[in-house]
Structure formats: C-alpha cells, structure tokens
Amino acid sequence: MIPYLKKLTQLIQGIPLWQKLPSLIICFLIALPLNATPEQDQAAFRKHYQQRFPKLKLTDYANGVYAIDEIARQSWSAIEEFPPYETAIEEGKKLFNTAFPNGKHYADCFPHKGLGISNEYPKWSKTQGKIVTLARAINDCRTKQQESALPYEKGNMVNLLAYLAYTSRGKAINVNIPKDSPGALSAYEQGKAFYYQRHGQLNFSCATCHIQNAGKKLRSEILSASLGHTNNWPTYRLKWGEMGSLHRRFAECLTQIKAKPFPEQSVEFRNLEYFLSYMGNGVPISGPSTRK
C-alpha cells in the first residue's frame, strides 16, 4: 500500500493539478478501491466477469480465451487431443525423479513429495520476506542441494513445472495471504497496483485489455478474462513454437504495448502473479496447456 502510494506520487509529480485529476479518478474508478481488503477485491473482480459472461462458471475460466471464443475453442480442443506438451511432462518427470549427486531428490524439498502442489503457489515466505513462486522454490531446492539454478524462461525449468502442474490438474488454485504477515499483504498490493497502472507508450494497463475489454476483439483476437490467468502454465504456444512460462507471457503483453518488460521472476512479476493467483482462487489447474 505505502510503496504503491509512493510510486503513484512519483508518477504524478511534475504534472499540473488539472491534468492530474483525471488519472487520479481512474485509479478509483476502474481499479479496485485502494483501501479494499483482498477478499473484497476478489469479490469485485469475479462479479465484473459474472456480469459480463453470465453463462460461465468459475471453473470455465480454466480454459482462458477459449471459454469465450467458440470458434477458436474447436480447433483448440482438437489440439488438446494430441497435446504438444506431452514431451515436456515426460522430460519433467524424468528430471524430477533423478537424484542430485548428493543422493537427495526434488521430492525431499517439498510437502507431499512435490506432487499436486502447484495450485498452492506462489506463497509468501516468512523467512525470505518475499513471494516464492513454484519456479523459485525449485531453484531454492537446487541451491540447497548444491546444484546451480536453472534459467526460468524455457527448457528444463519449464519441463519440471509442466510435470508438477500435470500432477496438480483439477486442483483449485488455493493461494493465501497470511494475516500475520504484513509483507504478504504489501506484495499483494504491489501486484494489484502493477495490474491497474498504465504502462508503456501505448498507455494500457493489464485491466484495459483483460477487464475493461474482455470478450471484445483487438483486431481479430478476442481478449481473455484475467480470472484464471495463472492456471494453465507452462503453456505450449504456436507463436513461440515451444513451451514457455507465465512470466514470458507477461513480458510479451508488456512488449506489445511498448512498455519495458521485467525479467522472469523479478519482484514485479512475482507480485503480479501473486495478485492474479489470489484473484483466480478456485479456478482449477489445467496446465500444462496449449494456446495460439
């Protein structure tokens, strides 16, 4: 909250007051109210989409844009019958079950041997004082076992995540903001602020496209709802011709609006993922998945 206000103040400094007013008003109109609790934010977020897409159930949002784009959904369902992410799951499983040189396994680092836990991430880590995504937790595990960290965007890391998501399929996203950790709430608030802030030369916020215009067409591309935006990762995209991470997709949306993308697993993207995951609580994991 405080860092958000600081950022906002920085942003609007040097702008004459009469020009400042409209942008201040936007923050309060489109954005969820600054002083709302996460529970209130979540209720408002869902209500918006319920009103826009009255036929959709919460679980339908697991399918991203294909929940609302009937035509594209048909070809997508056909792809899902011979999924191009199958090799990633197999590779990931092999990696996951291979012992480190010290004899330990990934399974030793996680509750439930690491299976069926993707829906619980990202988490606030009290000891580290920051948001830990599952990708981060995998690298923390490697470091603990004296192994070097894996790059995040694609390759082995994404294969590991694909396998872990696969073992978590159907489980509802279940991310919480512990009441006894003000740092967790602050990370959430920063993620929320990032989501509603306008970015880049084209001056869009994530909300401009995925809330205000969800279901409408940008050129011939229907815009998806942000509800469940974190549930289908990692994902095979034709555009990439390979599997990729959620943060890679964040970066691509920012690049499209001529904004500076942040690095994979940066604090900005981890907090954004935390906010979006909390908004998507209850949407089942469907990763790994396929998208255009």
Binding site: P22, S23, I25, I26, L29, I30, I71, A72, S75, W76, A78, I79, F82, P84, Q201, L202, N203, F204, T208, C209, Q212, N213, K216, K217, L218, R219, S220, E221, L238, K292
Partner: protein, 114 residues
C-alpha cells in the same frame, strides 16, 4: 502427429490473418491508420476497406457529423484521455506514437470517410 498439430494451429492462425491493402491510389493518411506499427487503428475500429477490425471502439465513419471541425477530431486522436480518462485509446500525439504531421494526414483521411 507433428503435422496434425501444425495444421490445426495453422487453422487457428488463419483467423488472425494479416490485413491486405487493396490496390489503389496512394493515401498516406490511410496507410498510417492501417499500418500495424503506425496507427494500427484497425486494432480497435472498423474502417472502410479494413480487414478483420477489432470492436473496442466505434466504427470510424461520418466523422464530420460527429465532430465540429477537423481540429476537434485531431484532439481526440492526439490524446483521447482528455475527453475520457478511462478510454482504451492510446494518446497518439501526447505519447509521440505518431508525429504531428502523421496525425494531420490521418485526420485528412478520416474526415472524408462516409
């Protein structure tokens, strides 16, 4: 297997085919409005001759009945947030997405559209 994936994906992609410009006399304003790395107005607006437009904003036609004069139309394009702080439309002039001269050319072109 791979071929099937590729074919189905291509079918998906074909829905997002790029806009071909019909052959005709060169109109700089139109080219700026249609070009993806200039105005890209078709991303949000239907415009005569424009293929697969988006539907975020209203169709751009009969603007001379919507705006008092060209200057007013120009202001909408220069910075739409002046009139609607919540607008989805990028501020083409204010954020220097288009040059002043390019905006004039787009205005000239749009003003004539019925």
């Amino acid at each position: 297997m791979k071929t099937i994936i590729t074919l189905v994906f291509l079918a998906l992609l074909s829905c997002t085919s790029t806009t071909k410009m019909p052959e005709q006399t060169f109109n700089p304003g139109k080219q700026i409005a249609f070009s993806r790395d200039k105005g890209n107005c078709l991303a949000c607006h239907a415009i005569k001759d424009g293929e697969s437009p988006g539907n975020i904003g209203p169709a751009l036609k009969n603007l001379s009945t919507r705006f008092k004069n060209k200057q007013q139309l120009r202001e909408q394009i220069w910075d739409a947030t002046q009139f609607n702080p919540e607008t989805s439309m990028p501020p083409f002039g204010k954020n220097k997405i288009l040059s002043e001269n390019e905006i004039d050319q787009v205005v000239d072109y749009l003003w004539g559209l019925k």
